[in-house]
């Protein structure tokens, strides 16, 4: 019998896969030097050409290796920070991963083949290549395959084990490029700004002032919004309000122009309405309308909707979702795909929810005729399906209230996707009064459909409108000027920030939550609550240091036409587009590393030359600002 070594990304996945492949009977062997990682031994038939094999299933714990500068470049003052753009780097097994690496090499020495079970995304492919490297240390001739899976449900895992594929070298290369760029750019700027700023104030000497090419634009959004709120000027506006009572219903007509910022103009417009005496109904538009059911769930949406409806920050939601995935309850939660593959048996997934006390009946109704094929979004990462429940889980099997909330959200969202849109009837009445146009809108919700299960969306009937005939004339009961004032935008919330990062192309869906957590950790951003009780939301407010860094870097590039600030998303966005080019095979890892380093090196040189701009901004906010 051949020996096969299987390696997963995390111990929990290794155990779950071992459980399914072995049918529940396997032998657990602890490994020397690592309390978390175990080897699971069992027999399994992988089908042709492998047949029944003797399997050792084990895991790593995330990345095995780390990239760092060679030792003579590691000291903070060992070289000018700019030298780090070219300084030699080396990849080595991280100190705390030595035991895990040794285990893989030892197991590989006795195995014919290595099957990689890391998560099927870019990072997973790269971890796969790290595992392969260690395995080849023990057995240079070992065969290497990869299992492709997106959840740990039994049938899916068994199928993946019998349809092995190759590692995706391109994706692994994209990650390798990203790791090298993050190291060089991060270290160069972190050292430069820390060394230059630490003498300005004791506050700045407390900890390194870290730079990250994703953190900074993330911080940039928070500061940009903060300044927009702070600098906002309120202005008065005026508008015209028309009311007409018919059948005891007060119908308010809204001005097409909404409001204007010139009182005299509004006054003459109203005067001309009044002079016309009668208004004429120019349009009565009654039509069926619908509120669309949501799209299949992506990671970005889970984080945004989750932090909005479930009152948890995105990092926590992701952590819980990871846990639910590891236990086999939901599919892989890191996905950009918002379309279901035709091959997935969605009805079968719906049926699994029958036992639930809350939405079981709804699921049955779907199967009994109300099921609809989900809408398809425009994104497909070709690796994972949208996030969906894999099986039904009794609430008692979920340890915390937060676990239950996230699981419930994933299920309700999935059932909503498979439902009919909500249907209604909308009415729009448009009138011309003098030279001006006004309209009144009504909505009657006729069928709630998906809204019954997707409790997070609101869509309600408005006041009923009386009957109007096109062409009829009437004299409005009241027409008058109203006034108001413009109001500033709100401070940024976490779901909005995720939306902005996504819309501006920074951070992959999977890393956004980490970047947000990081700028909080670094004390560039603080959170505070707006409102109270159920309607309260957490707002992100930059600290003085956060504002100083953004303003400083913006000033560094002021007047330089082709040098976008580090606080803006462009440089990072370009870098991420290049990662995609590596994945698509249109650029090599080396090309991308060179090109991206060139972009950042230019900003680095400007920053060095104009370092006083950065210092001035820090003085302004941290020293003078603190005194006043």
């Amino acid at each position: 019998m051949s020996r096969i070594l299987c390696v997963a990304e995390k111990p929990a996945i290794a155990k779950a896969v071992a459980q399914h492949l072995s049918g529940g009977s396997f032998q657990t062997v602890p490994i020397r030097g690592s309390p978390y990682v175990k080897n699971y031994l069992f027999d399994f038939n992988f089908g042709n050409p492998w047949g029944t094999c003797s399997v050792t299933m084990t895991s790593v714990i995330g990345h095995l290796t780390a990239l760092d500068f060679e030792s003579n470049y590691r000291g903070w003052t060992s070289c000018p920070p700019g030298a780090l753009f070219e300084a030699p780097v080396q990849e080595s097994v991280a100190h705390d991963k030595k035991a895990v690496a040794r285990n893989i090499a030892e197991q590989a020495a006795r195995s014919k083949a290595l099957f990689i079970w890391t998560d099927c995304d870019r990072e997973g492919e790269h971890i796969g290549t790290e595992v392969r490297k260690e395995a080849r240390r023990g057995n240079a001739r070992i065969l290497v395959k990869r299992a492709k899976f997106s959840n740990t449900e039994r049938a899916h895992v068994l199928q993946a084990a019998r349809a092995l594929i190759e590692l995706d070298e391109l994706q692994a290369n994209a990650v390798a490029a990203r790791i090298e760029l993050d190291l060089r750019i991060g270290a160069a700027f972190t050292r430069l700004q820390t060394l230059q700023l630490q003498n300005l104030s004791p506050i700045l000497a407390e900890q390194p002032i870290s730079y990250g090419s994703c953190q900074f634009p993330t911080l940039g959004f928070v500061v940009d919004r903060y300044l927009r709120v702070k600098n906002f000027k309120r202005e008065k506006f005026w508008g015209i309000k028309v009311m007409y009572t018919r059948d005891d219903i007060k119908v308010n007509f809204l001005w097409r122009r909404v409001h204007l910022f010139d009182r005299a103009a509004v006054t003459i417009m109203l005067e001309r309405c009044l002079a016309a005496k009668k208004a004429k109904v120019v349009k009565v538009n009654q039509k069926p309308t619908s509120k669309w059911r949501p799209l299949p769930l992506t990671t970005v949406d889970l984080q945004m909707m989750g932090s909005r409806y479930l009152r948890m920050d995105s990092q926590k939601i992701m952590k819980i979702a990871e846990g639910l995935y590891t236990k086999g309850f939901i599919s892989y939660p890191r996905t950009e795909t918002d379309q279901f593959d035709k091959a997935i048996d969605l009805k079968k997934l719906v049926e699994k929810q029958f036992p639930d006390n809350n939405w079981g009946q709804y699921a049955r109704d779907l199967i009994n005729g109300k099921f609809r094929t989900p809408r398809s979004g425009r994104h497909n990462d070709r690796a994972h399906p949208p996030i969906h429940p894999v099986c039904w889980v009794a609430p008692s099997s979920l340890p915390t209230a937060d676990d239950r909330k996230v699981y419930e959200f994933v299920v309700r969202r999935f059932l909503a996707c498979c439902s009919e849109d909500a249907k209604g009837q909308s009415t729009e009445i448009e009138i011309q009064y003098g030279d001006e146009f006004f309209h009144a809108n009504g909505l009657i919700v006729l069928e709630r459909n998906y809204l019954d299960v997707y409790v997070y969306d609101k869509w309600e009937s408005s006041q009923q409108l009386p009957k109007f005939e096109p062409g009829e004339m009437f004299e409005p009961t009241e027409a008058k000027i109203f006034d108001g004032k413009t109001s500033p935008p709100n401070y940024l919330t976490e779901p909005e920030l995720i939306g902005l990062m996504d819309a501006n192309g920074i951070g992959t869906d999977a890393t956004m939550a980490e970047h947000i957590a990081k700028i909080k950790d670094r004390q560039y951003v603080a959170t505070r609550n707006r409102g109270s009780g159920r309607s309260s939301v957490q707002e992100l407010i930059p600290t003085q240091l956060g504002i100083a860094l953004v303003e400083g870097y913006d000033n560094v590039v002021t007047g330089l036409p082709d040098s976008p600030s580090l606080s803006k998303p462009f440089l990072r966005k370009e870098m991420e587009l290049r990662m995609r080019e590596i994945c698509a095979g249109t650029k090599t890892r080396q090309q991308v590393v060179f090109e991206s380093l060139d972009m950042y090196r230019e900003v680095f040189i400007h920053t060095q030359r104009r370092i006083n701009m950065l210092k001035d901004a820090c003085r302004k906010y941290l020293i003078e600002g603190a005194m006043s």
Binding site: D224, R225, R228, F232, K233, E235, K236, F237, R257, L260, F261, D262, A264, A265, T267, I268, M269, E271, R272, W292, P294, L295, V300, D301, M304, M305, R308, D338, G377, R378, D435, T486, P489, T493, P495, E496, G499, L500, D502, A503, N504, P561, P564, K568, P569, F570
Partner: protein
Amino acid sequence: MSTSQTQIAAQLQSTKSLSVSRSWLDTFIASSSASLQRNVPISALTQTALFRVLSSDFRDTLTTTDPSSVLPVDIFDPTVKERRLSGPIPVQVLDIEDIGSSLWSQVEAIERVERGEAIRGREIVRTVNVGEDSEDWTSNNNNNNAGSGSNGPHRLILQDAAGTRTVGIELRRIGDISIGKLPIGAKMILRNATVARGMVLLTPDCATVLGGKIESMDRAWKEGRKARLLARIDEMAREERQMSGSRGGDAMDE
């Protein structure tokens, strides 16, 4: 008057309702003598004349002898509820404002352009609708990133050949009127326009944009626009303070 002068004047009058002054025509013909000798057709010469008139200051180029071709001098009178100007009256634009947008939002738009965010690939999405379908984002974001152009309605300051000024309100959308599209010194013809409380109500039926601009004024207007917007915001804030001060209310608390 020479034949060519008469012909050009008649052409400009009949096709564009512009009655150019005798002295300007003389100067124009004198400067075009080379063309005249080369037998350039009169239609081409008329085109040149039109182009120059549209780039000129109407006060220097048009006659004011016909009272129906200039604004009434008491046009500003707010006690007159409505009157009609049969015209045609040639006017030039001295100022344009978007009264459909707040001053501050216009300042923010100018600053976005200053920061280079109007350049392709350098746009920043600043607002997203959380809770709406993600495919709606792009459409919702465009309005806050528009670097130039304005939707109006617009408030114009217009001036006739005699130097009389009036306010024009764009009562119905006129395609050529927009900030960035309608330069200062651009020329318009008013025909059968309604004046209400001292303001000319501009509609596509009564206002025809001829084009043109006065380069020096337009440049100065553009350069000073942000400062003027900011000055007006300050002024409004001051008035507001005075108002609440004179009411003796909560002004002390500020």
